[in-house]
């Protein structure tokens, strides 16, 4: 056993404690990521696309630290499966512990393992890994720092050490700014553990190498700005969101040699020495579990569930999810409305799901990260060129992601740009998980007729605007322009009506109803009917419905609603409470209480 070799012979308690703690660490990590925190796998896997090509490798090879990101991305592609993701992260945590055990053994060959300091980095990384923006290459960076440090102290011969230090440029190229963490670690080590002139010689030698490396890298080898060379790929870009666990982790790494030294001379009675490892386990793991269970964000986890369903176009799942456990997030509600639109139920079931943001949950801003989500609205109503525009912007700003490249392929096929679609398909074919998807669409490049028989693409082709116009910043205007260009586009029409409903603009709703029969409606969707009935009740006039009728059942429901209102008219909070039980899925409830 690898770990056996690192542990002192005869120390059964120590061995047992180490195995127990590593097993516990693995179990806690695996349990958390497989059942609770698996949202990070979906999120991170979808924010990059690992491509098996020289060009993709070159993008990372041209900058120090790029290769560690490349390796991280390689592993992240396996996050496609929650099981594989869990295994990767949990194994990594154990591996890091193993390296620290070896370092501990080197630093303090005759003493017991300092279980606390060995477990602390892995536990901190486990806590950091809860964050959606803690990426796999950060973990690899920490691991490589620990390994390089171990290599530096592994053999005490002066020459060997100088060779390892002289290889710092290579290490810096591999891990980028993580190398500075090693620098701190090694200097502290030398000052504490080395004796005589070597205590200063090695640090000075290393600092000279670091300075020279930095100058050569900046001025000759790499076209990278100075702040990039100093910071990339350490996760300290956004200092405002710098979590305290990260400070602690960086401190743990740098001060590891010092901590081992400080706690090394403590001589304890045998019975205490045997208790300490278990005390450590009983402290560190419960604290980790408590911290893991704190600050969970169920709404974000819920959003990722919805988003996962969006990517596979499981519209029913999104609708059911929002109706059974409503998202309080504007993006979650936007996706619900989108799913309804894709199922042609927008004005039928809009108020069956929670609506907290008025018309703001119909479309999203087309800026920053939101463009990746805003795309779907345009795709839904047939503004394929705008969906393509946003997918392209996403690709330029964030690189290829599974979703943006899929949308680029679909929109290029819909728009008839087969040669460009083929280029994107060729990229997607060089990936692990999306190759089969790409092959399906590659057939359409060979046989264009397949596009017209594909329900999704053919449906979008039918929705393409009849006339050209320029997209505007305001989506209400865009919907008007779509309807001018394609007056029978029901999806766009229902988005328009939903906007009126969510803005309680019943006059505008009623004004539009007269066009519906000509558009092909045989009956008025439920919520539009509810708005019409409200209009009749308020304005006491019968509007022109263009030949369509109000369903008697709607009238009867309104009668029932009115009765409730009359019953609790003196007590609004009671009224709302009662209504919430039976009438919350109606426009009337939204109109009155939201």
């Amino acid at each position: 056993m690898l770990i056996d070799n690192c542990l002192q012979k005869g120390k059964t308690t120590e061995k047992f404690a180490v195995y127990l703690s590593l097993s516990l660490l693995f179990v806690i990590s695996a349990t958390y990521f497989y059942w609770v925190g698996n949202g990070i796998f979906f999120y991170q896997e979808n924010r990059l696309l690992f491509i098996f090509s020289i060009e993709y490798l070159q993008k990372f090879a041209i900058k120090p630290g790029g290769l560690v990101e490349y390796a991280g991305n390689f592993l992240t592609q396996y996050y496609y499966s929650d099981g594989a993701g869990t295994l990767i992260i949990s194994s990594f945590l154990i591996l890091l512990c193993y390296i620290f055990i070896k370092i501990n053994r080197r630093l303090s060959p005759d003493r017991s393992i300092s279980l606390m300091f060995i477990l602390l980095p892995s536990c901190l990384i486990l806590l950091l890994q809860k964050r959606y923006d803690h990426l796999m290459h950060f973990n690899l960076g920490y691991l490589l720092v620990a390994m390089w440090f171990l290599l530096s102290i592994a053999i005490p011969e002066k020459l060997f050490r100088l060779i390892v230090l002289a290889l710092f440029p290579l290490f810096f190229y591999l891990v980028g700014s993580f190398a500075f963490l090693y620098l701190g670690m090694f200097i502290i080590y030398c000052l504490i553990y080395e004796k005589g002139v070597l205590r200063y010689l090695f640090p000075v030698f290393l600092i000279v190498i670091v300075v020279l490396t930095f100058i050569v890298f900046k001025e000759l080898l790499f076209l990278q700005p100075i702040d990039h060379l100093l910071r990339y790929p350490l996760p300290i870009v956004d200092l405002k969101s710098f979590p305290k666990f990260l400070y602690l982790l960086l401190g743990c790494f740098m001060l590891f040699p010092l901590l081992i030294k400080i706690f090394d001379p403590v001589k304890l009675k045998k019975k205490f020495a045997e208790i300490i490892p278990y005390a450590t386990i009983l402290t560190i793991f419960p604290v980790t579990v408590i911290l893991l269970s704190k600050h969970n964000d169920p709404d974000t986890a819920n959003l990722f569930k919805i988003e996962k369903a969006i990517y596979i176009q499981d519209w029913d799942a999104i609708i059911n999810q929002h109706q059974s456990s409503p998202s309080t997030n504007v993006i979650g509600q936007y996706y619900y409305n989108l799913a309804l639109s894709e199922k042609d139920q927008l004005c039928e079931k809009l108020f069956f799901g929670r609506q907290d943001f008025g018309s703001k949950s119909l479309t999203l801003q087309r800026d920053n990260e939101l463009i990746n989500r805003a795309i779907y609205f345009y795709y839904a109503i047939g503004l394929i060129s705008e969906a393509h525009h946003l997918a392209f912007e996403s690709m330029v700003n964030y690189g290829y992601r599974p979703e943006n490249i899929k949308l680029l392929i679909k929109t290029e096929l819909i728009n008839g740009n087969y040669r460009i679609a083929e280029q994107y398909i060729n990229v997607l074919k060089k990936t692990l998980h999306y190759r089969n998807w790409a092959i399906k669409y590659e057939k359409m490049i060979i046989n264009h007729q397949l596009i017209n028989t594909d329900p999704e693409l053919a449906g979008k082709i039918r929705l393409l605007p009849g006339n050209d116009f320029f997209i505007r910043p305001n989506d209400a205007q865009n919907i008007e322009l779509v309807l001018m260009a394609s007056p029978y586009n029901k999806r766009a029409f229902e988005y328009k009506m939903s906007r009126f409903l969510l803005e309680r603009d019943i006059v505008s709703v009623v004004n539009e109803v007269r066009k519906m029969k000509e558009m092909g409606y045989t009956n008025i969707p439920r919520h539009i009917e509810e708005a019409v009935v409200t209009f009749i009740n308020i304005y006491k006039e019968l509007p022109d419905l263009g030949g369509l009728d109000i369903n008697p059942e709607t009238k009867s429901r309104f009668f029932q609603y009115s009765s409730f209102c009359n019953l609790y008219s003196g007590n609004k909070s009671r009224l709302q409470k009662e209504m919430k039980k039976s009438e919350r899925n109606t426009f009337w409830y939204y109109y009155q209480f939201k």
């Binding site: 090509s53 060009e55 001025e219 076209l223 990278q224 700005p225 990039h228 503004l383 394929i384 060129s385 705008e386 525009h389 392209f392 912007e393 690709m395 330029v396 700003n397 819909i414 728009n415 008839g416 740009n417 040669r419 460009i420 280029q423 060729n426 393409l464 605007p465 006339n467 050209d468 116009f469 320029f470 997209i471 322009l481 779509v482 260009a485």
Partner: protein, 499 residues
């Protein structure tokens, strides 16, 4: 028996030399096919180099054979009998640099015959009809400079200006925007193909117009409140003292029908002159009573005329499809710096078209411009084509080098014998630099795309090649020089209306 050391060495040589010779001969051996079937057609190759006219100093014209065969033998023969053999097991044909150079050097004014034989295991070899490349006597400038960026919309991400040797595949960055806080860079422009004298614009926090003169980079701010926008499209006066710019207030919009992607148009634009010696911006005042928008200036090689594109000033609610630019020129007195009256060189409006990018050959005989249906931003116009005016008789011809896709930006080699132009004929989205030999208005070679070491590279490269410009040598400044210059305060140009 004892053998002396020299003898032993001699014996070793006696064994080694024949082995090396045999190995060498084996490696050079090409199949001498006696028994093959004729395909009766040329092989399909990419890029399409069949029948192209190439300069005698061009880099190896590597290509990819798009036939479904197992193995290829390629025999390149020059007019005077020099032969070069290349084998390919994957269809990718790469000519060795030295042998290729020799093949061309021995063949100026002649042609290269490319014979492709294909083999599949156990089958009879096939021979395709030969492909010919014509080798012009005139050399092309040794470097090409272009901007590489994503072809579209608003965001730009990585952006760089690159110089590529036309004689081999060496490529190096002149400018990389990650060193200047990801600012946008555009409109690199050389003073008569001179790699030591050029300018480029940077837009953003490190913004300004950066002038390069003999290794020194100077950051300036040319914009003034009297100009509608930034200094944009430049043209160096042949004396090197003045640079004409158009100053444009530009907007872009996105089409919602699939036929077109993007529309870029001006709301106003005017011409200005920058005096590089005095650091003065001078209004280029017109004598017209009508208010025009003026753009794309270009000096005649003599410096006596300024050519540009002009249309009437648009008013609110205008239809962008009705904006048509004509080609105009104004005389220029280099002593006084005064312009004459504008003359219409080509009335594009009369044929319901619009002109952009007028560029005159260094010998002053020809002018090439881009013609499209409307507006000013031809790169997004599929119908955009290149046209040629023979200046001595004002004859206008549509050039034979056009395709069904966009042909847009173009520039001449310093000897006026080669034209490089952006064309989207590959995929309809990304522009690539195409070279065309120019003998005269009725002798233009079939264009070819800039050859690459890996001929399949264009299939994978999602970046567009923007503003390809020939230069007579290697640019000596690099990205770090621009980064250093960007750290200095920009020198503000002084505005004057005296001319």
């Amino acid at each position: 028996m004892k053998i002396s050391k020299p003898e032993l060495r001699k014996n070793k040589l006696q064994i080694l030399v024949p082995i090396v010779v045999i190995l060498f001969l084996l490696s050079c051996k090409t199949e001498n096919y006696d028994d093959f079937s004729e395909m009766g057609r040329e092989p399909v190759i990419e890029p399409d180099y069949s029948g192209v006219t190439i300069p005698q100093n061009i880099a190896p014209m590597n290509f990819n054979i798009l036939e479904d065969e197992g193995f290829y033998n390629i025999r390149a023969t020059s007019s005077n009998g020099t032969i070069l053999f290349v084998k390919s097991s994957d269809g990718i044909v790469r000519f060795p640099q030295k042998s290729w150079k020799k093949l061309l050097a021995d063949n100026q004014g002649g042609k290269i015959k490319l014979e492709v034989f294909s083999e599949n295991k156990g089958e009879k070899a096939r021979k395709y009809d030969p492909i010919y490349m014509y080798v012009a006597k005139e050399a092309v400038d040794p470097y090409l400079c272009y901007r590489l960026l994503y072809p579209g919309y608003e965001s730009w991400g990585e952006m760089k200006i690159v110089q590529r040797s036309t004689e081999d595949f060496k490529e190096s960055s002149v400018f990389e925007n990650q060193l200047l806080k990801d600012n946008c860079v555009n409109c690199h422009s050389f003073s008569h193909n001179n790699p030591d004298k050029f300018l480029l614009h940077v837009r953003g926090s490190m913004g300004g117009t950066y002038f390069v003169d003999n290794g020194k980079v100077k950051r300036t701010t040319l914009q003034s409140q009297f100009m509608p926008g930034n200094a944009v499209y430049p043209s160096w006066h042949p004396a090197g003292k003045y640079v004409a710019f158009s100053s444009n207030k530009t907007v872009q919009a996105f089409h919602m029908r699939p036929e077109k992607n993007i529309e870029v148009y001006d709301l106003s634009s005017t011409l200005v002159i920058y005096d590089t010696e005095k650091n003065e911006m001078i209004a280029c005042v017109g004598n017209d009573s009508v208010k025009y928008m003026e753009t794309f200036p270009f000096w005649s090689p003599s410096g006596e005329y300024l050519y540009y594109c002009r249309t009437e000033q648009v008013i609110q609610g205008f239809d962008f499809r009705q904006v048509k630019y004509d080609l105009i020129r104004k005389s220029f007195d280099q002593e006084s710096g005064v312009f004459g009256k504008p003359e219409v060189v080509f009335n594009a409006r009369s044929i319901n078209k619009s002109v952009s990018f007028p560029v005159i050959s260094p010998d002053g005989q020809y002018l090439v411009f881009t013609l499209h249906d409307y507006g000013t931003f031809s790169i997004w116009h599929k119908e955009a084509d290149l046209y040629l005016i023979t200046l001595k008789n004002a004859k206008v011809d549509k050039m034979s080098l056009n395709s069904n896709e966009t042909e847009s930006y173009h520039s001449w080699s310093s000897n006026s014998k080669w034209l490089v132009f952006s064309s989207k004929r590959g995929d309809g989205l990304t522009a690539r630099p195409y070279f065309a030999y120019f003998g005269s208005s009725d002798s233009i070679g079939k264009p070819f795309v800039l050859p690459q070491k890996d001929p399949t590279m264009y299939k994978r490269n999602e970046k567009t090649y923007n503003r390809p410009e020939f230069i007579t040598g290697k640019i000596k400044v690099g990205p770090r020089d621009f980064a250093r210059a960007s750290g200095k305060e920009a020198i503000k140009a002084i505005w004057t209306e005296k001319k």
